[in-house]
């Protein structure tokens, strides 16, 4: 037990636990000290000085994010001098910032803008020097605009500390300091995994996704195209937040209805193809378990993880499941099976995916995922982009009446829904693998040890006497910790699920920005989004992928059997080593 100490905040006495910073103590006592570079999941930067407070006996203001409390400490948080100093600090940041709020992508959802408002910045005293850099538009997923960067360093820290990708660093010095990949390389030639977490934590628009909304709006007007859209499980669990709904409210049916209003002819569910992935992946796993192929088998549906694997862990390529992601499986089916069903030329199909993910934009552009020379998915937009399109396209998302998915690619099991939460793919795969292997349905289908936000989760499944050891990691940093264990002890696990983003897809790089009352990657928000998916699962009558009647029909009419010739042609792929090779330091090297 930490010892209790007494402190005074703004002349009021409080008894608190020792061993925390002034900001942490103040947060718990109902004070909100303004902040900018601070993030509770990341190391303390102390760069922005927005969170300064006065401490009796100290000559200078101290940064409350970094300064520890002490017994008897007298802290002032909102004096006239502090308010002026903080306002000046934010004003000086703005002096070097482009004056283009009203044309900026983050207008109205920008932390810097909000902070300036809260500081009461109503008058500008100075005109500072502006930065003048070219935007890096090279990546399929992440756009870097150093002109808007305020050097808070959150992106550098999340990239190195949480994701361990270490693609970003500070280069040059003084006013010329810039956040950039090694050798000033464009993103497309760097070790960036396209996870988009830099976008999630950026307080301004220095990082944004590559925007495809205008292109999509134009294509939606094209009468020669059959416009088909799919959306990921995690989109429904989070899109409401962009319209002011509380996190954790599923907006599945509303999203279907809104997509029809935007002009789509068919709205299908990525969860259907999550079920299909499970059929293929569970079958592949059982084959490997019988000795045909390498163990542990590692999941392949997270596109950021796939790019990371090719650059950081090429020694594990043979362990990766050959299954395409649910999004790419759906794309492949749309341009073959479904094109046949509606008697349309595949090239007249516009295949669109709404994803919680920025890396899916990169995945859609992978040449090896093309189907008969066409991209399986033509356009990927993020949850954020769709939310904007709904607002811009004049759809009343708040009052809209929900609608159902189209058939035959819209029905899904509960197993498909939980794909979006860390551990969900494993849980769904076990539900199906168990029955395929033993011939009996698994009774305890909610596998609690695989749920929740613990970095690495382990489970033990009894398949008719055979003990199957499974592990789950979310976020590329946790994945690294797990894979280091696997490299040392390759026989330890049989089956591993890895998701590139914290919390799984629900914490994806394309999800709505944190609102007024939350912070990026807030654990509470992630838990609520996951719960929304677990609730969908619980309310389904079909909870196991192999019981989905439309999946059975698809195999009967078109695919044949899991791992059959048609499946191999359309639903499986391969991976290869990519350069530059990624390097993961054993010790923390970033500041």
């Amino acid at each position: 037990m930490p010892k209790k100490i007494k402190i005074y905040i703004d002349n009021r006495p409080y008894e608190i636990e020792d061993g925390q910073t002034i900001m942490q103590a103040a947060d718990k006592l109902g004070y909100h000290i303004p902040r900018l570079c601070y993030h509770p999941k990341l190391s303390i930067e102390g760069a922005c000085r927005v969170c300064i407070v006065q401490v009796e006996g100290m000559k200078n203001y101290v940064a409350s994010c970094a300064y520890p409390v002490a017994d008897g400490m007298k802290i002032l948080t909102h004096t006239k001098e502090l308010r002026t100093a903080r306002r000046d600090i934010v004003e000086l940041i703005l002096d070097n910032h482009p004056e283009d709020c009203h044309t900026c992508e983050r207008d109205g959802i920008c932390e810097l803008q909000r902070l300036a408002y809260a500081m009461g910045l109503r008058h500008r005293h100075f005109e500072g020097e502006r930065k003048c850099y070219a935007k890096d538009l090279s990546s399929e997923s992440v756009i870097r605009d150093p002109n808007k960067c305020i050097l808070c360093g959150r992106c550098v820290r999340i990239c190195s500390e949480i994701q361990k990708v270490n693609n970003l660093g500070y280069a040059y010095r003084g006013f010329k300091t810039v956040v950039i990949p090694a050798y000033d390389m464009p993103f497309s030639e760097s070790v960036c995994t396209a996870c988009g977490q830099c976008i999630n934590v950026c307080p301004t628009a220095a990082f944004v996704e590559k925007n495809h909304t205008q292109e999509l709006f134009e294509k939606l007007q094209d009468d020669n195209l059959v416009k088909i859209v799919q959306f990921a499980p995690s989109v429904r669990a989070a899109i409401g937040e962009a319209f002011g709904f509380e996190p954790g409210v599923s907006k599945e049916k509303e999203t279907v209805a809104a997509l029809r209003r935007l002009g789509f002819d068919y709205v299908f569910d990525t969860q259907f193809c999550a079920d299909l992935t499970i059929m293929e992946e569970a079958s592949e796993f059982l084959e490997r378990l019988k000795g045909k192929g390498k163990l542990p088998m590692i999941t392949s549906c997270s596109s950021a993880w796939m790019k990371c694997m090719e650059q950081f862990y090429p020694d594990l390529i043979d362990n990766i499941s050959t299954c395409k992601s649910p999004m790419s499986m759906m794309g492949a089916l749309l341009k073959t099976y479904f094109a046949g069903k509606i008697k349309t030329e595949p090239k007249k199909i516009l295949s669109v995916a709404v994803m919680c993910c920025t890396a899916k934009k990169y995945e859609a552009a992978r040449p090896e995922l093309r189907v008969n020379g066409m991209p399986a998915v033509d356009i990927v937009v993020t949850t954020r982009e769709l939310a904007w399109m709904i607002k811009s396209g004049g759809v009343d998302f708040i009052n809209i009446k929900g609608e159902d998915f189209d058939k035959p690619l819209g029905l899904s099991s509960g197993g498909g829904a939980i794909f979006g939460a860390t551990g969900g793919v494993m849980e769904a795969a076990i539900r199906t693998a168990y029955e395929l292997y033993t011939g009996e349905p698994l009774m305890e289908i909610e596998i609690n040890e695989l749920r929740g936000l613990k970095g690495i989760k382990e489970g033990l499944i009894n398949l008719d006497g055979a003990q199957v050891r499974v592990a789950v990691a979310h976020g590329l940093g946790n994945a690294n910790a797990l894979l280091e264990i696997v490299r040392k002890d390759p026989g330890r696990y049989h089956f591993i699920e890895i998701m590139g983003c914290p919390g799984g897809c629900i914490g994806g790089g394309g999800q709505p920005y944190a609102g007024l009352n939350s912070i990026p990657l807030d654990e509470d928000t992630l838990k609520k989004r996951a719960q929304a998916l677990y609730d969908i699962d619980r309310h389904k009558t079909i909870r196991r992928a192999h019981n989905n009647p439309d999946i059975r029909r698809l195999y009967k009419e078109f695919l044949g059997k899991p791992l059959g010739d048609k499946s191999h042609e359309l639903l499986h792929t391969h991976y290869k080593v990519k350069f530059p090779r990624g390097i993961i330091p054993q010790e923390l090297t970033a500041r």
């Binding site: 010095r173 090694a182 990624g582 010790e587």
Partner: protein, 168 residues
């Protein structure tokens, strides 16, 4: 194997010997600056392949190495020319017309400060006093001082280097 490939090889093995001695130490990445000094000593600048080698051997992400390499002015990021010209822009030289000399150099070489001629023969740097103020304005080429410069003299000096180079 060509001569230059052999020379590259021996540089790389010397760099690796240097790093091997540091690898076992705790927090070995704290030796990064010393290693980068070694790279510059061997290559004349921070060669990108050499930095990649440092990254792989010392297990330091390249983005972090790039941060250190760009922070310190001492580190050169571009390959220098065969002959490095340092033009003094210190007070004494400046008063004696270093500006005019610099303009002449830029015109003759068709490069700016920090650049290298397209044939790789010269690169141009600025210096802040070479300790030869009595000879102002001065420039230094590969460690040799040339004083009391005039634009005409600059032309002749460069011509001399060019001639010697084409005669080699």
């Amino acid at each position: 194997m060509s001569c230059s490939a052999k020379a590259q090889d021996s540089k790389l093995s010397e760099l690796n010997r240097f790093m091997d001695a540091l690898k076992g130490l705790s927090r070995s990445e704290s030796n990064l600056i010393a290693i980068l000094h070694k790279v510059q000593e061997l290559y004349g600048y921070l060669d990108r392949d050499a930095m990649d080698e440092v990254a792989a051997t010392m297990n330091i992400p390249t983005a972090h190495i790039w941060g250190v390499a760009t922070f310190y002015h001492y580190f050169k990021l571009k390959k220098p020319g065969k002959h490095v010209i340092a033009i003094c822009l210190g007070t004494a030289c400046y008063i004696k017309g270093a500006g005019e000399i610099l303009e002449k150099l830029k015109e003759e070489l068709k490069i700016d400060i920090g650049g290298m001629t397209s044939d790789g023969l010269f690169s141009l740097e600025e210096a802040r006093c070479l300790g030869a103020c009595g000879l102002a304005p001065v420039m230094m080429i590969d460690g040799k001082i040339y004083g009391s410069l005039t634009p005409k003299k600059v032309s002749e000096i460069l011509q001399g280097y060019r001639k010697r180079s084409s005669g080699e």
